[in-house]
Symmetry: C2
Subunit: 678 residues, 2 copies
């Protein structure tokens, strides 16, 4: 093994190269620049590891990089993991795969990036599959060899003894490694997101409620179902169409079904008139009946999927063909975005489909590389096509990898284990990913409520009724509870939108695990069933069958979001909420700006009243983000932050103040009401 | 892709090479020669595929070989598969791994060898991990492209459309491919086994009953437990010792525990005096306290397992060190053989341990190669050490791969799903493997009986009580049934021993799936819950919770083994046996030679009475194998076959005749009784 040498390439980010890496990497194919100014605002740091303990070599067709691990380190990240939060002691095989039912590391969106509880991050910038041995293998030359125990008599004997090394391995001629400094774990994540162009900023409507209709609905049926949301007083911003909107969908034509959607432009406009955006499902495999098939045929790989082409979307020509057709047929008539399905592939299970790793593509890349970045490429092609219309998009995708922070896409999955969905929400924030624990159906009204509560407090609040035809009011006995949470989603829009703005400008994940909270003790770092939204809102979901649960509250005082009841932090408390309540806690002194539960998100320039809640007898401040909510003008500086501030007045009461919007600014917020809780 | 050229290297076996393969292959490391004479007895055949449809290439660090598939082909084999019999439409990732809980192709003993229902076999002779796409990927240049179906409306839409190609892929610079002709599937399997040196011939005692004692038993406790078998009238030939017999076991010292086994030689001799052989558990990872540790240290890989060395057993020096110590400490005092545990490794699950694929070994081989053949190497080292004592051995192993046919080892697993265990029994016969569906514990007396019935009709009949401390009489209410099946095992020894002799000399697997039975219709080829022993005994297990089951009987008439009831074949029948009965059927005209249910196998030269059963009013013949049952003398021709023959006498009755043993031969069989059934 050879020593590595490191070059600081951005504030707190160092790079080394082992061997001769492929040029084709996730970061190379992204059209983003590191946010150097924002990175420079983070505390200055030295290289966080002992350089002589980081070694690498190329041998036998593989590149291996070894990094040190201390006995107390927890390892987080590796993308959208469903089965584990702390990967210490595990081997992670970071292949894109749609069926992560065993804890192998495979997932829709594996990211070869980890953060250590010691406050640094490590990225392998490669389109190859990385296997990460996170202290799961012992080396003969170990600095700290494990103690040998007698399995016959010692109950502490471990199948995987502790190891002092992370080994990162890929079948390739070389690897580029980036190290991100902290000092905190959250700072390392921030640097990663900022290095990847900053987090995605969705349009305001993206943070409303989404509903996907049954797959074979026609335009009249879609319109009728949408109208019912308004009639029944359930907010809804986006209607998603599923495979039946296409003239062919497995593989896909990308063209409207003339039977089901005879007048697409009129349909999209009519829906817009009632405040609904249209999102279109698709998969990447091109049907022979599509008009782009002939042009893509020579630009496609050696293998087909469902008889459709697998285009080589690493080629700009192929990208342009898809973007042009999507623009003509969808975006130019007002379609808001896409749901990019099945770009992950499924291998080695009963339901298998994908081009294989050895498939050959005209660019010279192989199936392994294309599969690892297919989701990333499709996000980029479709997002950029949408943005060329001058508007933001927000959509869904089933595969992603490193570098995706800035892409306005949210991951989803056919897996439907509620605990895993919450764990994925905790995990997503470590790796620049967004995730929706979408609701589809439920085993009971209780399950329906518990799932709906969580999805309404996630990056994308969606009912996906493509198969089941469920509606928010499907369980009549709990309809008021469901309405309450859809409305809460709308009420929290100012808070959520500001959290996303901080993701974009500062790299702070809007949804994140407890391990990213400063000051959480070692024993609580691995909590994977509660999470933080923004800076101050702690969410502790219940799962069907549970009447109560433990919630760990970090140091300080916390207030029940609804009742204002005060709890001392630095401990776990037991809560026994009714079905109508998802336990949510607000940090003492925190400010939660809210708006009325409108049927859909306000339009650009529409001013909504603001209710600003403040919790507990401590001063606090909040930075409220504002822009037009829809266009790309924020990218040229057309946004501003307003400061909300609560001070304690002499007699123990509180006073709130909001800084004014800039002169001439068409503010999104009108009348302000202050609520002091707790 | 380039065309391939084929050379016939043995009767009905052709070889081609794509690229520049590694020298280190399973077949290269085995010290066996093809049984050319026996292979020449099989029907002469032409190359069974269209050569121009077999292509290969080396690209991007991988070697790819494509072979044709016709629409009607079933694909069997790939080693000890638990989850599937017919692999058509699946991708098989043939890595040695102890946790095959998903249907990936990973297993304790993956073999890159498949047989087609069209009557040919294909072997990839490599120590690399092969991924086999068995018609699971579509190619743009497909001869027979799939029909595209509308998933929205067509219930026949398939996630994996049919494909006309098998693609075999490995990360390597080249592959050697061997094709084995039929004409039948069974002939292709026979050629494979004969090419690999012929099947294993166990000693007679290996076909008796085996019992493994709890892990921390000392020599007195072992002796007491063994004695109980004799007192309670349960046959037993082999007592297995588990990890506690060692002075250190995880990792392993290979030396006797001075506390538990202070006088090993006396202990082994005392057990032998009572008719018990001793089998010793071990794993491959060398404890620092072992006296061979220092010598093996420089001959070991870069990584440790449980803090123990992983020796490079591809080096003759390392092999010799292990063999010498085993001979001195175990074999020279009469130990009969080994149970080679944990040579498979476990990766990517909660309970992970193994050297990684990128580990480096002094021979220059890497961890991928060593792991794939570790079980094979350990079988060979230990079997040859035992044979150098002039005796046969029969043991257990948890990992194997291609070429293992001649090695006297039986696979086992910690997985404990009874249906999977029976499916593995069906699958083992396709790839030159033996498998025991060992019994450990049971959820109920019914489960206990159903498992015991199956294991008594398997290649190795064993109760493995290492953890549970169960005994054959643990479920008192069913003790008589259990005794019946242990005794049936002993009674069938002449039949079983002859079946194994045919495995050795003719390559015919003694236990095999229905797909290896000539004349089974296409629709019944994938049956994975009944199997054939020898030529004539069909076994159809029931599983706990079942009162009845369907049994498919091939063409011809079949007789219930116990009652003699006649059933017309060429159909499925429903049977409703009581708990006391495992449904077994005998082909019309078949002969089943049996002996009395002795407490243990007869010694060399000990003549036992023979009861020869014949079923149904049709003439029949059987070749009864005989040798001393223990030594290697059969390898120099000291064996013979006797012909048992039943003819129909004029009045409808039957007459049996047995050919005499050669002059001066110390026959294993004495008095003969004929039983005519049905």
């Amino acid at each position: 093994m050879q020593d590595t040498t490191w070059t600081e390439i951005a504030p707190g980010v160092w790079r080394t190269v082992v061997g001769a890496p492929d040029d084709f990497t996730p970061l190379s194919l992204l059209d983003v620049q590191p946010c150097r100014e924002a990175m420079a605002q983070l505390p200055a740091q030295d290289f966080p590891l002992q350089p002589s303990w980081v070694t690498g070599e190329v041998a036998g067709g593989r590149t291996v990089v070894c990094l040190p691990l201390e006995a107390d380190e927890h390892i987080f990240g590796f993308g959208l993991q469903f089965l584990k939060l702390n990967h210490r002691g595990r081997t992670r095989y970071l292949r894109v795969n749609s069926d992560p039912v065993q804890d192998t590391g495979e997932t829709h969106a594996p990211v070869p990036f980890y953060v250590s509880s010691r406050g640094y991050g490590v990225l392998v910038n490669t389109a190859r599959i990385v296997t990460a041995y996170c202290g799961s293998c012992g080396r003969k030359d170990s600095r700290i060899p494990p103690t040998i125990q007698d399995r016959n008599t010692d109950p502490d004997w471990a199948a995987t003894p502790p190891s002092d090394t992370v080994e990162l391995v890929a079948h390739t001629t070389g690897l580029e490694i980036l190290v991100f400094a902290g000092p905190t774990v959250l700072d390392a994540v921030r640097r990663y997101n900022l290095f990847c162009g900053g987090g995605a900023l969705p349009p305001r409507w993206g943070l409303g409620f989404w509903h996907r209709v049954p797959t074979t609905f026609n335009s009249d049926e879609v319109a009728a179902e949408a109208r019912e949301f308004r009639q029944r007083d359930f907010p809804c911003d986006v209607i998603g169409l599923e495979p039946g909107w296409h003239s062919a969908s497995y593989p896909t034509s990308y063209e409207w079904s003339p039977e089901r959607f005879p007048k697409p432009a009129e349909f999209v406009q009519a829906m817009a008139d009632e405040g609904f955006r249209i999102n279109l499902w698709e998969n990447p495999y091109v049907s022979p009946i599509s008009r782009i098939h002939a042009a893509l045929e020579p630009l496609s790989g050696s293998h087909t999927v469902w008889g459709g082409l697998a285009p080589d979307y690493s080629l700009p020509e192929a990208q342009a063909i898809l973007a042009r057709q999507h623009t003509e047929d969808h975006l130019s008539i007002g379609v808001s975005g896409y749901k990019l399905d099945e770009c992950d592939g499924s291998e080695l299970t009963a339901c298998s489909w994908m081009f294989p790793a050895h498939a050959q593509f005209p660019s010279g890349h192989d199936g392994e590389q294309l599969r690892q970045v297919y989701g990333l490429l499709l996000q980029q092609i479709t997002a950029y096509a949408a943005m060329r219309q001058g508007r933001r998009t927000y959509g869904l995708v089933r595969a992603s990898t490193a570098g995706a922070s800035s892409l306005p896409y949210v991951l989803y999955s056919d897996l439907y284990d509620h605990r895993q969905f919450v764990r994925a929400l905790c995990n997503s924030g470590f790796s620049g990913l967004l995730w929706t624990p979408e609701i589809r159906s439920a085993a009971s009204a209780e399950d329906w409520v518990r799932r709906m509560q969580v999805v309404c407090l996630s990056p994308l609040a969606m009912l996906n009724a493509w198969f089941d035809g469920t509606k928010p009011w499907s369980f009549l006995e709990v309809e008021p509870i469901i309405r309450k949470y859809l409305k809460l989603r709308m009420q929290l829009m100012p808070y959520l939108y500001s959290a996303f703005a901080r993701y974009h400008f500062e790299g702070t994940p809007p949804f994140r695990a407890m391990a990213l909270e400063p000051g959480v003790p070692d024993s609580k770092l691995d909590i994977d069933d509660q999470y933080i939204i923004g800076d101050s809102l702690l969410v502790a979901p219940l799962f069907a069958g549970e009447a109560s649960r433990e919630v760990f509250l970090p140091e300080g005082a916390w207030y029940d979001f609804e009742t204002g009841e005060r709890h001392e932090g630095g401990q776990a408390i037991t809560v026994t909420p009714g079905l109508e309540t998802l336990p949510m806690f607000v940090r003492e002194g925190a400010i939660i700006p809210m708006m009325p539960p409108l049927p859909h998100a306000p339009s650009a320039g529409e001013a909504v009243p603001l209710t600003i809640r403040h919790y507990g007898p401590a001063p606090g401040a909040f930075r409220l983000y504002d822009d037009d909510g829809e266009s790309l003008a924020y990218q040229s500086g057309e946004y501003h932050w307003r400061t909300l501030e609560v001070t304690l007045v002499g007699d123990g009461t509180r006073a709130g103040a909001i800084s004014p919007a800039p002169e001439g600014w068409l503010s999104s917020y009108g009348e302000v009401t202050w609520e002091f809780v707790g």
